[in-house]
Subunit: 349 residues, 2 copies
DNA sequence: CTGAAAGCGCTTACAG
DNA sequence: CTGAAAGCGCTTACAG
């Protein structure tokens, strides 16, 4: 051992020769085929380890028509300018990568902004991967439906939609939006805005929860206070400051993501508006940085890493031909400083 | 066209039959082999498009021993607990993914925390990918040197080290640390701390720049003020608050990353220490969120997306057998609120 | 300019 | 329990 590494063996044939068996037997032995005697299996595997032989995965993938590759496709809306640099994506990716590694699959990352999802049919994801995970639906729900006719199975992270033919994994967006809004109402806020692009199904559901919570208190959502704030920081900032100049006053805001919330808080600060005293802010996702902003962000936690695991289990289920159903994950309100006056959550005006 | 998609063609043989040529000719035509007549080439390609034929990439990769896959390996130090959720990684990944897509390569993401890099020799990255990009050296510089003996070429994002046998791409860490520190000195700070793990080569170089800047002003770095703050948020917070309780006072801090800086600021705030009034803070990286924290973070900008491009160009250069040299990218100090009293950058005590 | 043939490294019926 | 043989879909010398 030590410095001395045995001459490595390059092919199954060489390994077979070394073991004094046929190529077929060597192949079966390596794959733990029960057809093979325990003794032969052990000998072949020992030899393989000793000579650090590892199967040629290209050849294997070719022969088996199985690559052990799962593609991850981020659905970015060009319009809403959502960037992959939203930490939400990275945390999700981390969860997916971990779960995939445990199952001995690799992750093929496809990142090109996708305007026409149908174009993917001829792309790498559909050709090389055994299955695909779409992160988000963008505004391409119909195209996703159409892709179910392809051979490569896929699952989608997103929000509820009608006439859905694909497997969906998502958070409890309605519940999350509802909890965030009710929290602000309980804190005495009455003029509550919503920041986010409601053409996105996830955000639409959060907005529905927001509207429902207002309705329960006999309040009507003011359409002027539902603002299509893009995910992207600079844009969010522009839109926010314009709103503060023109729109009627508001004292609370439910944001469609933590990044939007942080942009809003930063903008408010620049304009001399205090958070939470003048405006209480709630984010969405509970990204790692949310607890370290100043003020620390109240937000709706999605267990992102666990979501990654569920996505992996679901897509591998499809790959293996199992029955797979939609999954809805719990969401949970995490109360921090951005929504509560430091002295306690009172409700004067 | 429209709804009507022609029956798709599954193999090169079928396409060849359709075109009335041999499989060999069809292959050459698709690959723009100049040996083939323009007329035949055009006909075959038209037919391919019409029947939405796309080459079987598994077979092609197998035959050519080339996968058009580049692996990205994140070197996480278990000790320092650096998480992939540092936005720096995602932004880098975005840059790499974009550049790779332009060159018609795919990205294979390998995420498992790497303690023993040599173990990668038998892993997917070395077997399936045409080349590898390592993000960070961790503390495994020697292992990386040893990996140069493998067939798969790779490049490394990191900091300067001795006896280096691999291609290195990195920022101007010494210059960045120097600029950050001089900025604090110019703002009148005298007791300046450094937060970061100096066993990491990039951070070591930043620390050297920090020490050099102090020396230029006749100041000696106080070893007690160089603290191995882990990258991870909760840990950073612990360490910081412990330092504030026990160590001698300081009025400025140069942080090895923006995430560390944000954790520090958050901790300071919780302890009633004002930033920048009591302690001025400088981060590193200029992650997207840095400009939206409160106070907005002064930091050393690394052009992360461009770095991604350079890494891709370098590794593809190696794949193609070109001469490739190390690259050092510019860094630039970005002054925001976390280091300057709002009334202006004066220097009292 | 085109085609017939060999072969990349595996796995799997099929036969023994 | 093991082996000989076929074949996955491509590309590329080689011959014409």
């Amino acid at each position: 051992m030590a410095k001395e590494r045995k001459k490595t063996v390059a092919s199954l044939q060489e390994l077979a020769d070394l073991a004094g068996v046929s190529r077929a037997t060597a192949s079966r032995a390596l794959n733990d085929n029960p057809m093979i005697s325990e003794k032969t299996r052990a000998r072949v595997q020992a030899l393989a380890a000793e000579h650090s032989f590892s199967i040629n995965r290209q050849a294997r993938a070719f022969r088996l028509r199985r690559s052990n590759l799962i593609a991850v496709v981020f659905m970015l809306d060009v319009k809403s300018d959502q960037h992959m640099s939203d930490p939400f994506f990275l945390e999700m990716l981390g969860g997916i990568a971990d779960a995939l590694a445990e199952r001995d699959y690799d992750l093929l990352l496809t990142h090109a902004p996708v305007t026409d999802v149908l174009g993917l049919r001829n792309g790498r994801a559909f050709q090389q991967a055994d299955g695909i995970i779409f992160i988000g639906q963008g505004e391409q729900h119909d195209a996703l439906n159409e892709l179910t006719e392809e051979d490569t199975p896929f699952v989608v992270w997103g929000g509820p939609v009608g006439e859905k033919r694909y497997i969906l994994v998502g958070g409890d967006n309605h519940g999350g939006g509802h909890a965030a809004t009710r929290h602000l109402l309980d804190a005495g806020r009455r003029r509550i805005a919503f920041f986010g692009n409601t053409r996105n199904p996830e955000i639409a559901a959060r907005h529905a929860g927001y509207a429902a919570a207002l309705a329960e208190r006999g309040l009507e959502p003011d359409p002027e206070l539902t603002v299509d704030v893009p995910f992207d920081m600079p844009h969010a900032r522009d839109v926010t400051s314009r709103l503060l100049e023109t729109a009627r006053q508001f004292d609370g805001v439910v944001c469609a993501s933590d990044v939007i919330a942080l942009a809003a808080i930063s903008t408010f600060a620049a304009l001399g508006v205090r958070v939470p005293d003048d405006i209480a802010v709630v984010g969405y996702d509970d990204v790692a940085l949310a607890s370290y902003s100043s003020p620390a962000l109240t937000t709706v936690r999605q267990n992102i890493r666990w979501a990654g695991r569920v996505l992996v289990e679901s897509v591998l289920g499809l790959v293996n031909g199992d029955d797979v159903t939609d999954t809805q994950l719990q969401s949970e309100l995490v109360v921090r400083d951005s929504s509560m006056r430091r002295t306690g959550g009172s409700a004067p005006e």
